[in-house]
């Protein structure tokens, strides 16, 4: 039999290999990326976004960042709605990754304003103090090649206009990268769906806590707010935080749910307690310091 016949052995081994291949690799094409998992609101990438995606690939960002949110409690709270198959139909190749040295980026689009990304890419540690992400400011020095990008759009069969291609002149690789990041995960309206509606009255648990007791809370501010609002609330990408007169519950709601249209991300994942601490800290800490 096959024990002494190499040709027969090769054929049988190939057969053994092909059974599992057929069932788990070939057959799924009948179900995946068909009408059944199509999502109407998911659109192809624009020329600028697609180029940004190709730069993301070129720089190997997928070695440290995943792009798929799993349907697990902590993960959905941290990153946003879990990923759906229909969101990836225009992704060639897929970029789900296998290691989260940095955070998942499947839902990064719309979380921060553009300016945050420009600053963060140029100097990650200026925004996130102890990060190990390398700086990518040099991308701004490289201009785009509109002709090549048009060719890519044709190969992919994505719709584009000649104005769109013309607009690429004068843009650089960083612009493309930021455009791509801002597109990620926005194919479905998940942000609107996750905004918490606060019912009942909000009650500040830390009224009149006193300046000294607030000191440890400065860490929460530094870790989560300082990158955009400055080390002393003087404002930077985000506005100066002159909130002393603001109503406690209004301020709570802004921090908790964010202001998506103005680029303020929600901080509900910190939990109500930390958000309340921030409310009190923002309102009183530095004013109290000045009065001392």
């Amino acid at each position: 039999m096959w024990e002494k016949n190499p040709i027969l052995l090769l054929i049988l081994a190939t057969g053994a290999i092909l059974v599992g291949t057929l069932v788990t690799m070939v057959l799924p094409f009948a179900w995946v990326n068909t009408e059944a998992d199509r999502i109407q609101s998911v659109t192809p990438y624009t020329a600028l976004q697609q180029e940004g995606r190709d730069i993301y690939i070129r720089e190997g960002c997928n070695n440290c960042h995943t792009q798929t949110v799993r349907p697990l409690v902590a993960e959905v709270i941290r990153y946003g709605d879990y990923s759906k198959s229909g969101e990836f139909v225009y992704d060639r190749p897929f970029l789900w990754g296998s290691k989260r040295t940095g955070p998942d980026l499947a839902r990064i689009g719309g979380k921060y304003p553009d300016e945050w990304h420009y600053k963060h890419m140029a100097s990650p540690r200026s925004m996130v103090p102890r990060t190990n992400m390398p700086a990518y400011g040099w991308l701004s020095k490289n201009s785009l090649d509109p002709q090549m990008i048009e060719r890519k759009m044709n190969v992919l069969g994505f719709p584009y206009t000649s104005e769109e291609i013309k607009a690429l002149e004068g843009k650089n690789e960083m612009d493309a990268m930021v455009a791509y990041l801002q597109k990620l995960g926005t194919g479905i309206p998940w942000r609107q769906a996750t905004t918490t509606t606060i019912v009942g009255d909000l009650k500040n648990p830390y009224t009149r806590i006193g300046h000294a007791a607030m000191k440890p809370w400065e860490e929460i501010y530094t870790a989560n707010c300082a990158a955009c609002h400055g080390g002393h609330m003087e404002g930077d990408i985000g506005p100066e935080l002159d909130v002393a007169d603001m109503d406690d519950s209004d301020l709570f709601e802004i921090i908790y749910n964010g202001v998506p249209d103005d680029g303020m991300p929600p901080f509900s994942s910190l939990g109500a307690d930390k958000v309340w601490k921030l409310v009190n800290f923002l309102k009183d800490f530095y004013t109290a310091e000045e009065q001392k």
Partner: protein, 472 residues
């Protein structure tokens, strides 16, 4: 009694070049591990983590791994078939083309020409080169087997043939892409399909490059080193069919909890658990072959490498299925646990067997005794220590980070921000750098020992049959 003129020159060349690429792999590994702790060590555009890490993995799998496979298979096939190579010229071409492919891969990856698909990052022109290379290699091996002078086919030949067809199928399907230019292409598959094809490839590259060929080496070099046959040839055959059948179902265990259909994930999980049986079939076959021979663990350094290697294979094939279980994957996936797992397989199993194979080969193909057995023992302890430091620190890191990612407050909010979990990794990443450096030192000792063997080793008095060269 050896009348056959075996072709050893080609084996020598492949041994040399595989070691060169092995050194590159470990060196780049140490560099990227330093970049993880100190981002200022990234020098854009070429020397960044994102571009170097694929060079580390591909030099490891294709330069070192496949290089050793070429060297050992070209040797083993001649001896098991009792006939010279079918075509020494083709093997010579294979050598040059192999190095051309690896160099082209390294350069294009540095330049940022990548498909981004893990363990298959090289762009389409290099895929074409790999296909030519593999055909040249496969044809030579298969033709040599067909014209063999020994009627019986030993199990190593079976694994070799399965690996040849397996890699061919996997690589071709996953390489399918539409070129835009010489150095840019788009995958023929999109999104979820692409993911499923890629991990069908990715996991079975582990089967067909990092499992079947090292098993072929193990089954050959263990009995050759101990001088006693393996425990059971028939058991190795049952394990062979089960292994090559079951592996192909398991790719989606890399995609648990993703949008890939649930039934594929469930099949992958089930088959991963079933795979323990054939994997341990080989482990037991190895252990049982040592019956009455365990004293050789002390006396014969080759046996030490081989048995510790198969032990790591056994551990790897228990840990792997564990990670393939949905609940455990939910906890551990995407953390540093995963690279720890991979490196137990590559540094502990595949490389351990590869070092042993080369230690066996070099004295025989050069006709000289090994320069220093104490140095070989030193290398053994260096690479074992380096690898354990590396893996254990990152298992701990992985569990720690997974715990922090999942920690929640009573009100249902997260206890830690992402950055709070990441900064906890730094101490463990430093330990990894240390482990990498120790492992690197082991490889340097290895190379020194071999160079000295070739230059100053005493001529071996005995014929190749006597395992004297391998005894302490």
């Amino acid at each position: 009694m050896n009348q056959t003129a075996y072709d050893y020159d080609i084996v020598k060349s492949f041994v040399n070049w595989s070691i060169v690429w092995g050194l590159v792999t470990v060196l780049v590994g140490v560099i990227v591990s330093l970049q993880m702790v100190e981002p200022a060590l990234n020098f854009p555009p070429y020397l960044t983590f994102g571009r170097l890490r694929p060079i580390h993995t591909n030099a490891g799998i294709y330069g070192w791994g496949v290089g050793v496979i070429f060297a050992t298979f070209l040797y083993i096939v001649q001896r098991l078939c009792k006939t010279p190579l079918w075509s020494p010229k083709l093997a010579r071409f294979q050598l040059w083309f192999f190095n051309a492919t690896i160099i082209a891969s390294a350069i294009t990856l540095l330049l940022g020409y990548t498909s981004s698909k893990e363990y298959h990052e090289m762009e389409w022109p290099i895929d074409v080169m790999v296909v030519i290379l593999w055909v040249a290699f496969g044809l030579n091996i298969i033709m040599t087997i067909i014209k063999r002078k020994e009627e019986h086919m030993y199990i190593s030949l079976w694994y070799m043939m399965a690996a040849i067809v397996g890699v061919a199928i996997l690589y071709l399907v996953n390489a399918a892409a539409i070129p835009v230019s010489l150095f840019k292409s788009y995958s023929a598959y999109a999104g979820t399909n692409d993911a499923n094809v890629e991990w069908w490839f990715g996991h079975n590259a582990v089967a067909m490059v990092l499992t079947a060929p090292p098993l072929a080496m193990f089954y050959y070099f263990l009995p050759k080193s101990t001088g006693v046959p393996i425990y059971s040839h028939r058991m190795s055959i049952i394990a062979f069919w089960s292994l090559i059948f079951m592996y192909l179902w398991t790719g989606a265990h890399h995609l648990l909890w993703t949008p890939v259909p649930d039934w594929i994930q469930t099949l992958a999980m089930a088959f991963s658990l079933m795979l323990i049986a054939p994997s341990w079939g080989s482990v037991f076959n190895g252990y049982l072959s040592m019956n009455g021979q365990w004293h050789q663990m002390r006396e014969n350094y080759l046996v030490k490498f081989l048995i510790i290697g198969i032990t790591f294979y056994g551990l790897q094939t228990l840990q792997g299925p564990m990670q393939a279980i949905r609940t455990f994957s939910a906890f551990i996936h995407y953390t540093d646990w995963i690279p720890a797992h991979i490196h137990m397989g590559t540094m502990g199993w595949v490389s351990m067997i590869s070092f042993a194979s080369i230690y066996y080969l070099v004295p025989r193909i050069y006709g000289k005794n090994l320069y220093s057995i104490p140095l070989a023992n030193l290398q053994f302890w260096l690479i074992l220590t380096g690898q354990l430091m590396w893996s254990i620190s990152l298992w701990i890191a992985g569990v720690l980070q997974a715990g922090m990612w999942n920690a929640m407050n009573p009100d249902g909010s997260l206890t830690y921000t992402f950055m709070e979990t990441m900064v906890e990794m730094y101490p463990y990443w430093w330990i990894r750098v240390g482990g990498g450096l120790i492992y690197f030192a082991g490889v340097v000792v290895f190379i020194y020992n071999l160079v000295m063997t070739v230059r100053q080793g005493e001529p071996a008095v005995t014929t190749e049959s006597a395992p004297v060269a391998g005894r302490a």
